[in-house]
């Protein structure tokens, strides 16, 4: 068991100081903006909770929030099962393991705007590999600057390309930690592949999958750079996710008050869903 030692606080102080400097001061600034109205020239007027009310009742916010939940939902539904399937079919040892891991992790190490630019080049209708293949080889009319459905399929595919490997790496880490004895016992009992998965592999992966789903939820819910570079939120507003809308409001229109209120609501939603999910997933462990 861990010993109680209040002096351990001293070991945490540097971390606390650095993170608090970066987290609390900007956060207070945002809170400050969110309750005031400004007309420039550093003139501020008390606005109370007006901006919050305006954001929470605005159709624009509801639409962006809906698109955001749709995006994140699709991402989780596709990436988590796909990641598990890939991790299950990977070799457990030998020469090919590091080769697979290095190649799979590669997309995650590319700067996010390069990912957007890369997919832009890849999907250009007449000179991109995918765009050319779809339009000229398969004869499908594909142009994501015109067709909202094509734009959605493209940003989803891009995110699957970018982040499924995270789920694979985590699930794989959970799988390799299962001792061989478990599999031998299952073999003696004549367990089917499905039973091995359901009663041995899945429970053993539960912890790492919790991390994977949490990370994928948080990051896909806050996604900005990649879809912004790829579609710019268009065509129309069809791929304007919450963060893209937020930046439009904050830096495009310079509506600092509403943008600050919106970002705090946004943060609260992310925090709430993450906490709910975390509590549900770890409930069994506590009992």
């Amino acid at each position: 068991m861990k010993t109680v030692n209040q002096r351990a606080w001293f070991l945490v102080l540097p971390v606390l100081f650095l993170v608090a400097f970066n987290a609390l001061i900007p956060m207070m600034t945002v809170v400050n903006y969110s309750v005031q109205e400004t007309f420039g020239d550093n003139l501020f007027f008390w606005e109370g909770l007006g901006w919050y009310e305006q954001i929470l009742t605005s159709d624009r916010f509801h639409a962006a929030l809906g698109r955001q939940f749709l995006f994140t939902g699709l991402i989780l539904v596709i990436e988590v099962p796909l990641g598990i399937i890939i991790a299950l079919s990977m070799p457990r040892q030998g020469f090919w393991v590091p080769v697979c891991l290095v190649l799979m992790a590669l997309p995650m190490l590319i700067p996010w705007n390069v990912v957007g630019a890369m997919w832009n080049i890849f999907t250009l209708p007449d000179i991109g590999l995918l765009g050319y293949f779809l339009n000229h080889t398969l004869g499908i009319n594909y142009d994501m600057t015109q067709d909202p459905l094509a734009a959605w399929i493209t940003i989803i595919t891009m995110d699957v390309w970018h982040w499924t490997s995270l789920v694979v790496l985590l699930a794989y880490a959970g799988l390799v930690s299962i001792p061989d004895a478990y599999y031998q016992a299952a073999k003696i009992d004549g367990a089917s592949n499905w039973a091995v998965f359901r009663f041995i592999q899945l429970p053993k992966m539960k912890n790492v999958l919790t991390i994977a789903i949490l990370l994928r939820f948080m990051d896909s819910f806050n996604i900005y750079t990649e879809p912004f570079v790829l579609t710019g939120g268009g065509p129309g507003n069809s791929t304007t996710l919450l963060s893209i809308d937020l930046v439009k409001m904050a830096l495009g229109q310079f509506d600092l008050g509403p943008a600050a209120a919106m970002s705090l609501i946004y943060f609260a939603i992310t925090l709430g869903v993450s906490w709910l999910f975390y509590t549900l997933m770890t409930k069994d462990d506590l009992n």
């Binding site: 010993t3 109680v4 030692n5 209040q6 351990a8 606080w9 945490v12 540097p14 971390v15 650095l18 993170v19 970066n22 987290a23 001061i25 900007p26 600034t29 945002v30 079919s89 697979c100 891991l101 190649l103 992790a105 590669l106 995650m108 190490l109 590319i110 700067p111 996010w112 705007n113 390069v114 630019a117 000179i127 590999l129 390309w161 499924t164 880490a173 390799v176 930690s177 912890n207 991390i211 948080m218 806050n222 900005y224 750079t225 570079v229 963060s243 937020l246 930046v247 904050a250 830096l251 600092l256 943008a259 600050a260 919106m262 970002s263 946004y266 943060f267 992310t270 925090l271 993450s274």
Partner: protein, 265 residues
Amino acid sequence: MQKRSIIPIVYILFLMLPIYWLVAMSFKTTNEILSGFSLFPQTFTWENYVTIFTDPTWYWGYINSILYVSINTVISVIVALPAAYAFSRYRFLGDKHLFFWLLTNRMAPAAVFALPFFQLYSAVGLFDTHLAVALAHCLFNIPLAVWILEGFMSGVPKELDETAFVDGYSFPRFFTTIFIPSIKAGVGVAAFFCFMFSWVELLLAKTLTAVAAKPIAATMTKTASSAGYELGLLAAAGTLTIIPGAIVIYFVRNYIAKGFAMGRV
């Protein structure tokens, strides 16, 4: 077994296609790119790379990025080590809340924090320095480093600490000469993830820099809009941003899977 390995092979092919296209594009001339579709570069050219390596605004972008990413990785790991030790070995007032609060810093939408960050770092006189970006990236990298290191440290039996203290080691000497070497793999994994998230982040890096510390990825977006549509050059710059990540991941390939397996939650 043979049939099963088709899935990873297909997946890796899918991952490589857009990367291949970027690399192929970087070896084409602007004329060839705009004149139509070609699967391989017809007139192979190094011109795009020559431009990048001879133009200071381009290559300084790389140097800037590597500088602030390295500073961030060093700071994050150094301050995270003692904190992770505290979390893995002791209970103290508010420890669980503190841990969760650290993790919540990954959840804030970076988009609107950009402006307050700009004001904060201008106020302390660090705007447009490598240190500013390195410190700002600590916001999400330190919690991650603490989390990963804590997992590794919990895997080290407590008897190691006790024996060392009985043998008369002071805490700093024990920590630096015995404990840290015993979790080398964890330090490697934590450093890898700090490097990765600092390298790929652009929004804050772009907001906190103007000229002197501008990251390569920002140079790319500026060039893309100002100099017309130079796809070849853009592709070459993009290709070069993949290389540092590829080198780093090669060194830690054996530890990555392990790093998460040992993590807590």
